[in-house]
Symmetry: C2
Subunit: 218 residues, 2 copies
């Protein structure tokens, strides 16, 4: 059984390994992802290597073993199921659920995830549009195309969000954007790459390039 902290490292490493822009998972990348000191990460790399949950090579960085990946996916499964619960059953807002799920995901009990899954009606996606791994570890592919890749004039459907911070989600809420919203790209400003968009055929609104990068489309 893994500790709370080990689970957080596994999850962070899994997340980094899913990011197409990250080619090598380095000590410092993990440190940044978790807000820890690199020296602490070195300690944990040793520990997880001993437990055969990761492999570490100075050149290639950190990689999850099959065992480590399995564990990481089960934590993510629990995280995403709890998010669905918090939003749908306890009526929390979109931007509130992530932090609570960070705690709930560590509750260990053989079939808790499976019972929760059944209770929620076997949801496919969590409220942020991320696929929920199945009990056997199978997981639909995440949405990877960003609205930043869309063509000017095109209309796209919001499928998921990349950033799950409450700052971003609150901004989306303010703009009345959620999963399923239609967004049309009207114009790109050459100066700073900001974009003029229309949300569900509404009035034109200007948003930053950083903003559109964090919106994933189907």
């Amino acid at each position: 059984m893994n500790t709370f902290s080990e689970e957080n490292y596994l999850k962070a490493i899994f997340r980094l390994s899913q990011m197409p822009t990250v080619s090598k998972i380095s000590t410092s990348a993990i440190a940044e992802a978790l807000g820890n000191n690199p020296a602490s990460v070195v300690d944990m790399i040793r520990k997880l290597t001993d437990k055969q949950l990761i492999e570490y090579d100075k050149k290639k960085g950190v990689k999850l073993t099959a065992h480590g990946q399995k564990d990481a996916i089960q934590i993510i499964r629990k995280h995403r199921l709890w998010e669905v619960f918090l939003l749908e059953k306890l009526e929390y807002r979109w931007d509130e659920i992530h932090d609570i799920a960070e705690e709930l995901e560590h509750i260990k009990h053989s079939d808790l995830a499976d019972r929760l899954d059944k209770f929620l009606g076997f949801p496919e996606y969590d409220p942020h549009g991320d696929p929920i791994p199945k009990a056997n570890g199978k997981m639909a592919k995440s949405f990877s195309a960003s609205l930043a890749d869309g063509k000017t004039g095109g209309t796209y459907r919001v499928a998921a969000v990349r950033d799950t911070s409450s700052a971003f989600l609150q901004y989306l809420h303010k703009l009345k954007i959620s999963i399923g919203t239609q967004i049309r790209l009207i114009e790109q400003i050459a100066f700073d790459q900001s974009l003029v968009i229309s949300i569900d055929n509404g009035e034109p609104t200007t948003v930053s390039s950083k903003f559109v990068e964090n919106i994933l489309i189907s």
Copy 2:
């Protein structure tokens, strides 16, 4: 904010303070309740005293301060609400829910308990018959009369159980006893105080005195 461990101590102290047979909460009583070494309890007594959650007097033992009592009740509230959730929504068995709730009760988030309470329809009692504290800390009185105090020939309604161990609950399950079951006391065996009872007017069954002490009646 209190740590996981501090919360467990507060809860144990509260539980002991509710037991009519316990007049003084000693270092060793707490140690036994938590399965820890008395030396560890001494450490924690110092810590909780510094945090003004308890008061300690060599003669009188440990007592929760108003602040400590408030915190303890909130943990118990969460524990009992999660138990209702696990039984009613996730369809866990009676004897499985206690251990999972022991973990869930430590999840901290301002209004999680209140939202859960609302979602569950503001239940008054948990599945073991213990009253669930309200958001303001008010709590109905626990059932305290034991079936062991009943008169031979009398019929009583099971209101709660004193022991929440899975061994005891599984035995109850086997005997088809749950909250609300009617039990008639047929005869007491003088030799070892065991009792012959009838469960919901069924065939006579013999149970130990230890068994009946752990059944609370209304």
